[in-house]
Amino acid sequence: MKNSSIKTTAIEALWRENPSLTKLMGICPIIAMSSSVSIAIGLGLATLIVIITSNIIASAIRQQLNLATRVPSLIFIIATMVTALEMLMQVSFYGLFELLGVFLPLIVVNQIVLMSAESSASQKSLSNSVLDGFLTGLGFLLVLVLISSIRELIGNGSLFDNMEVLFGSVAKDWVFHPFGNNFQFRLLLMPPGALLIFGVVIAAKNAFSKKPL
């Protein structure tokens, strides 16, 4: 693929056609896991890893799949990857594993993952599948980080709290409180706050791209 077309694909996947912002895909984890940046990055990276690995496998075995076996096989691949990731995460990121809770196994039913695997299995070469998986996962991660940083900043008055679950004890003092220690706007930390911020982000995107949903 040429450089210019990679760039177009990247802009397309991360911004213009970002499945979370245009098709509202995978918004359940976005609503539930975006109250702090650390959890959001954790879930986003986990999803990214699952998308890339399952895309590689889906693309590798795509000749063997027919119409009847394709979707069950893809779900099976994704479930395998998520289970493997779940076990590996417990070894060295136990704190993150506990924070993500049920949303880690629920990556299996994230539409974005299946959508990307489906397109890899149907026509893409290995390298294109990896690229597509990376961009799709990154798009999801960026939406999560964007919404969670707004929520954490205004809701909890802090940024990068609890980063040690991701980066170990070096990250203990990464947290900073730009509005002083006692600033809090609790509404944004609760589920309605997530919906409000998500709506504002979509509205802003539509205003920017001048193309309504």
Binding site: Q64, L65, N66, T80, M87, L88, V91, G95, R186
Partner: protein, 213 residues
């Protein structure tokens, strides 16, 4: 078509078997490490409060079942374990778990760490669902209120003083959360009472140190 489908079946079977083999392999190789991380995450809050009272390096914590007749006193309906703290293989204190249903909204789980002579080393809330901004100040992450228990014991605080100041006790209440404060204070008192009744069994014959009290 018939032969293609059959080929698909054999491929699917091989594929599923290899995926199961992969998961089994990961499971076997991570099992012990996951167990270790789980243990560490359980002990983290214990070590947190113990670190302030005992030289933390030589500490060892051993679980010990709580006899059934004391379950109502500690608020339990099933088997729980207290932890005895050893330093240089000598028992120096213990950590008593307790739970109360009398919180403002639901159950409050806490641990009380006490030294061998019955003095409180620290109290921590493990789990609660009190009102954010008011009752959640019992948690050390939002307020220092819980530190008021440090150094208290049945001998230096009379039983009628184990309540909030406005009821004639010796403890401040969290403003806006008197019910929460009271229920925590009462449950800590009950945990100390349990220790008083069970200490001979836990620590053997009274030592000269406790006899002199």
């Amino acid at each position: 078509m018939q032969s293609r489908l059959r080929g698909g079946k054999i491929f699917m079977a091989m594929f599923i078997i290899s995926a199961i083999a992969l998961l089994l392999l990961i499971n076997i190789s991570t099992e012990n490490k996951i167990e270790a991380s789980y243990k560490r995450s359980i002990q983290a809050p214990l070590l947190d409060i113990l670190g302030q009272a005992f030289e933390s390096d030589a500490i060892e914590i051993n679980p010990y079942p709580i006899p059934e007749k004391f379950w109502p006193l500690l608020g339990f309906e099933n088997q729980h374990y207290l932890n005895i703290v050893y330093q240089n293989s000598e028992a120096v204190g213990l950590i008593i778990p307790a739970t109360t249903q009398n919180g403002y909204s639901g159950e409050i789980k806490l641990i009380v760490a006490a030294s061998r002579d019955g003095q409180i080393v620290g109290v921590r809330i493990l789990k609660h669902s009190e009102t954010p901004g008011l009752g959640d100040k019992i948690d050390i992450s939002t307020d220092n209120w819980i530190l008021a228990f440090n150094g208290r014991s049945l001998s230096n605080t009379a039983e009628k003083s184990w309540t909030v100041r406005k009821d004639g006790g010796e403890f401040d209440h969290i403003s806006g959360a008197t019910i929460t404060s009271k229920s925590v204070i009462t449950q800590v008192l009950k945990a100390l009472k349990y220790f008083e009744q069970d200490k001979v069994r836990l620590f053997g014959q009274t030592t000269s140190e406790t006899a002199s009290l």
